[in-house]
């Protein structure tokens, strides 16, 4: 019912809820889901039962993409869904990494809204979503404030520091080489 992408430190990079929850409850959910998922062996299933629901999660570099779905939903399909979403992000940001998501969080939401609506899958074609994003960006003229080129991320001074290690700075989520 919700989607959250906490990173390994448990900082949420993106969270979207399709059911109404109080803010405090949202934070609690994000924290609990992170705790559940982060310590699991990579060989384990990508599914964990959580309260009355099920978490389907998948790890990409330092980021966990987690979906909370009904207990009767098709787990394998949602796993495929997560991968498709990451591929779309990768396409859009050309070689996505965690910082893309941090600085462009509002765009990630926009992509997500083109991909999933009201908790249901809306579009399964990568191409269609990327094209749609292009059209939306044309509509959005205030580029100086909101538009960022993906290349900026790598131009940022390394000394900017913070919770991410240098390797994760470079690491792309899908493990492809950075040009």
């Amino acid at each position: 019912m919700g989607m959250a992408d906490p990173n390994r430190q448990g900082k949420t990079r993106l969270a979207k809820y399709y059911v109404p929850l109080e803010d405090s409850e949202k934070h609690k959910v994000e924290y609990e889901v992170h705790r559940l998922v982060v310590n699991r062996d990579p060989k384990f299933t990508n599914f964990v039962e959580f309260r009355t629901h099920k978490i389907i999660y998948r790890r990409y570099a330092g980021l966990f993409f987690s979906l909370c779905v009904d207990i009767t939903d098709n787990e394998l399909a949602y796993l495929e869904c997560i991968h498709l979403f990451v591929e779309i992000l990768d396409h859009f940001f050309s070689n996505v990494c965690e910082l893309d998501l941090v600085f462009n969080f509002h765009k990630v939401y926009l992509i997500l809204d083109e991909f999933i609506l009201a908790g249901e899958l809306q579009e399964t074609s990568k191409k269609a979503i990327i094209e749609r994003m292009g059209e939306l960006e044309k509509q959005d003229e205030l580029e100086n404030i909101l538009l960022l080129q993906a290349s900026h991320i790598f131009a940022m001074p390394r000394a900017e520091k913070a919770v991410f290690s240098a390797s994760r700075f470079k690491g792309s989520l899908l493990g492809k080489k950075i040009q």
Binding site: P20, F44, N46, L76, H106, L117, L121, L136, E160
Partner: protein, 875 residues
């Protein structure tokens, strides 16, 4: 211009936050930003409003309060441009949810935007509506969304379809408005629209029966055709995942077919071929293919029976189960739980593999597998399965032990073939994971031990051995202490040695040692210590040589801070010191605990009706014979407040309950014997099936069939108030007369105080039905005449039919003899019996009655029982 309002850019703020080394620094940055944003808000700054809101969203994501920005969202949404609206709607979805009042204010803006000439703005509005729509909004905006389902741009159509799902989930009444538009979406070629259209139709079927019928009739065939096209479609680069064209659409279609096929044989028939094709042709080496197979299996399991397909499905699950990928094994276990109701045998074949999964490292798999094993257990495989589970209990993770223990105990209780096995398994569980065993589970164990008189010695010796190795398990210690207290002398003297046992030498002081260790453990809780004190008191009598030492142990607890222990300690030491003469009677062995009473209490209130063959979960075949009165006690135990203490003879009770009616009952049943003891009366009561001699009076003739005319006239005569009261005074004649009234009670007013009471179905099981008709004797509101009529709808004749009833103390019950003891099959006749109930609390408490019916079917004894609570009020 305010110095703050120029502010920083969004990416500068994010960078500043990321540069913070400590949480305090981060808070300072956020505080500064929030102050600037608040200032901008109060100045009603236009230029940076959407930038500020974007910042607020980031701040919100970090977990800081941002409620002050909610109105800004609304202002942005009301703005003219796309960029403002985009951020405004995003903020609306992130910072608000459907429960906030503010949301009401946005409905109008949404309505305008849904009708906007810029289709991208329409898209934004649809997206926001789909994610936060409340019931009120759904009602207000449904017509707009419905119209947009036919919009020229497919991007809008698919958004409108998903928005409609949200709307019909919020307000199911709106479903029918969407039917036609939804059905036309199914004819689309655009995958995005198709997938959302299929999803919308699936959800429509879920909320509306009418929609389900509509789609079943109109769309089943076309959906089968569509799935066929998708399955056989050539390579489509845009939708290809692992060589499959749009697995997501496959899955949506399979799910829609499942909804259409469930409970409808014709629709199920239509989809057999395509399901078989998907099940056999789909590549299973990639996740996407497996996801489709998994969905296909679920559809096959849910639609109407087709054994060929089901074999196919079970085989797929078998393959999944042996897959090396944990995800695949997990879904296999998940689906086998559903398959077990369809084909239990096929699932049993995978028992060994499933049992291995219980021991998996992955908690998700373990949990599923354990649930499945629990469903797999039956009488034939319980012993090896439990053995495996207990062996695994020894090595399992701490955090899994609780769950595993609960399941093992439940299996052992439910399926135990014999008492010794039950006791053995429970002792193993207690030794391994006693701390996880719930109190009611070991209470049940004690009840079973108490009933297995031939195993007392064996049990107490096993417990003694187990205690030596596992004294840290609280519940094991408690059971051991109780048994040593009760059966201590059997431990010392090797009484009741079984062949399988090794003899052990335990001295009296060894036995006392155990209790002393238990009482002095730091971890012992109040219950354990209290149980220890009682055990010691009992042992002081059984082992006179240790009496002195026992008293010393007991005295030590005089200083206990727990009042209960302190008091007991003082009382017990005074018993040992001063009251030698009564001690031995005081500490006699506990009477055998009654299993039926216990399990009845444990189950809470007994089920009101329905055949419950003894209702005992501890139904152990080789148990000691129960005292004959026990079931009766159970029967009489109407309210838990006055639970009768188990006693070996139920006579007292009966006398108590039936009170003055006893003598009448005895004389009625044709025996001249005076009720010497309650048990005799009980026997008499049970034999009421034999036709009573007194009832063969002239009125009985009326009962014979074929004389309806005369009986009606007779009835009219006797149903006048005077004759009723005259005849009603003679209990012997009351029964046949009431039989007579029974047949015509619907057409004739019941004579009496003028009040009529509706008949009730007092009890109904698979085949047996009991109707009660009521009437009152004039001038005596407390008394009610009940005419019971038994009928049997099964094809078998019930012989030796006996009806028993019991009531709480405020009622008095008198049973007249029944009209016969053979109940013809297939409803061809009935037995009638009249009951007279006097309610001493008339007007305050309603009638209540517990009943038991015993009869023989093909020579086999059957027992049904139930409680009647549905008496008309004011009886």
């Amino acid at each position: 211009m305010n110095p703050f309002s120029s502010g920083t850019r969004l990416r500068d703020m994010i960078r500043a936050v990321r540069a913070c080394k400590t949480a305090a620094e981060e808070r300072a940055v956020i505080r500064k930003e929030c102050a600037a944003i608040r200032a901008a808000i109060s100045e009603n700054d236009q230029d940076y409003r959407h930038r500020n809101l974007a910042k607020l969203m980031f701040i919100h994501m970090l977990g800081y309060p941002t409620h002050f920005g909610q109105m800004e969202c609304l202002k942005l949404i009301a703005a003219a441009g796309f960029p403002e609206k985009r951020i405004g709607y995003l903020g609306l979805m992130l910072l608000l949810d459907e429960r906030q009042e503010v949301l009401m204010l946005v409905t109008n803006s949404l309505k305008q935007d849904l009708n906007h000439s810029n289709q991208y703005i329409v898209g934004l509005a649809l997206c926001a509506l789909g994610n936060i729509c409340s019931a009120e909004m759904a009602r207000d905006l449904a017509p707009e969304v419905e119209r947009l389902l036919q919009f020229r741009d497919p991007n809008i159509r698919k958004k409108a379809a998903l928005c409609s799902i949200r709307i019909i989930k919020k307000v199911p009444d709106l479903a029918e408005n969407f039917l036609n538009a939804a059905a036309s979406l199914l004819k689309e070629k655009h995958h995005g629209v198709l997938i959302t259209g299929v999803q919308l139709c699936t959800d429509l079927c879920r909320v509306s029966e009418e929609a389900l019928e509509y789609f079943r009739k109109k769309c089943t065939e076309s959906m089968v055709k569509l799935l066929k096209e998708v399955v056989n479609s050539p390579y489509m680069p845009e939708y290809d995942i692992a060589g499959i064209a749009d697995p997501f659409l496959h899955i949506r279609l399979l799910r829609f077919l499942r909804v259409l096929g469930q409970g409808d044989a014709d629709a199920s028939d239509l989809m057999n071929d395509i399901l078989a094709q998907v099940a056999t042709k789909t590549e299973s080496n990639k996740n996407a293919g497996n996801a489709i197979l998994y969905e296909c299996v679920e559809t096959i399991m849910s639609i109407e029976d087709n054994s060929g397909l089901r074999v196919l499905a079970i085989n797929i699950l078998g393959r999944f189960l042996s897959n090396r990928d944990n995800n695949i094994r997990y879904v296999a276990l998940n689906m086998l739980m559903k398959a077990i109701t369809v084909d239990g045998q096929a699932v049993q074949r995978h028992r060994v593999t499933i049992l291995e999964c219980v021991k998996d490292n992955d908690a998700s798999i373990r949990k599923r597998a354990l649930e499945l094993v629990y469903l797999l257990v039956n009488d034939t495989n319980v012993m090896p399965l439990v053995k495996e589970l207990i062996e695994y209990l020894e090595v399992s993770d701490q955090d899994f032990k609780g769950e595993l223990t609960a399941k093992i105990c439940s299996i052992v209780e439910k399926f135990s073939p014999e008492k010794i096995w039950y006791i053995d398994q429970m002792l193993k569980v207690l030794s391994e994971a006693g701390n996880f065993v719930k109190a009611e589970v070991w209470h049940a164990l004690i009840v079973v031990i108490s009933n297995a008189s031939d195993l007392h010695g064996y049990t107490v010796r096993s417990l003694y051995r187990a205690f030596q190795t596992s004294s840290e398990q609280e519940s094991l210690v408690q059971v051991a202490v109780w048994c040593i207290g009760e059966y201590g002398e059997m431990l010392v003297n090797n009484v009741g040695m079984l062949n399988i046992e090794d003899p052990i030498t335990v001295t009296e002081s060894d036995a006392v040692d155990i209790i002393e260790i238990a009482i002095k453990r730091h971890s012992s809780d109040l219950t354990t210590q209290a149980m220890c004190l009682i055990a010691l008191l009992k042992l002081s009598c059984r082992f006179p040589s240790c009496s002195q030492r026992i008293q010393e142990i007991i005295v030590q607890l005089k200083g206990s801070l727990l009042l209960e222990l302190q008091q007991r300690s003082i009382e017990f030491s005074s018993i040992i010191e001063k009251h030698q003469n009564i001690r031995s009677t005081l500490v006699e062995r506990m009477p055998v605990l009654d299993e039926a009473t216990y399990s009845g209490k444990r189950a809470g209130s007994l089920p009101a009706t329905g055949p419950t063959s003894n209702a005992a979960s501890l139904n152990l075949p080789n148990g000691v014979a129960k005292p004959s009165a026990a079931p009766l006690i159970d029967l009489l135990d109407l309210s838990s407040d006055d639970v009768p203490a188990p006693s070996s003879s139920g006579g007292d009770f009966l006398q108590d309950l039936l009170g003055v009616d006893l003598s009448q009952a005895a004389s009625l049943s044709g025996t001249s014997q005076a009720p010497k003891s309650g048990t005799d009366v009980l026997l008499d009561l049970l034999s009421i099936g034999s036709p009573p001699a007194q009832s063969s009076t002239s009125t009985a003739d009326i009962l014979s069939p074929g004389q309806d005319n005369t009986s009606v006239s007779t009835l009219q005569r006797i149903s006048s108030p005077s004759s009723l009261s005259a005849q009603g005074s003679s209990p012997a004649q009351a029964a046949p007369m009431m039989d007579l009234l029974d047949g015509f009670s619907s057409s004739l007013p019941v004579a009496g105080n003028g009040l009529t009471y509706p008949s009730i179905v007092a009890f109904e099981s698979n085949s047996l039905r009991i109707n009660f008709d009521f009437s009152k004797t004039p001038g005596n509101p407390q008394a009610t005449l009940i005419q019971a009529k038994f009928s049997n709808s099964s094809p078998n004749v019930y012989t030796d039919f006996i009806f028993q009833a019991a009531v709480p103390k405020f009622l008095q019950l008198h049973l007249d003899p029944a009209s016969g003891n053979t109940l013809p099959a297939s409803g061809n006749g009935s037995i009638t019996q009249s009951l007279r109930v006097t309610n001493n609390q008339h007007g305050k408490k309603p009638l209540v009655m517990r009943i038991r019916i015993a009869y023989k079917v093909n020579g086999k004894d059957t027992l049904e029982e139930g409680q009647i609570n549905n008496f008309p009020r004011d009886l």
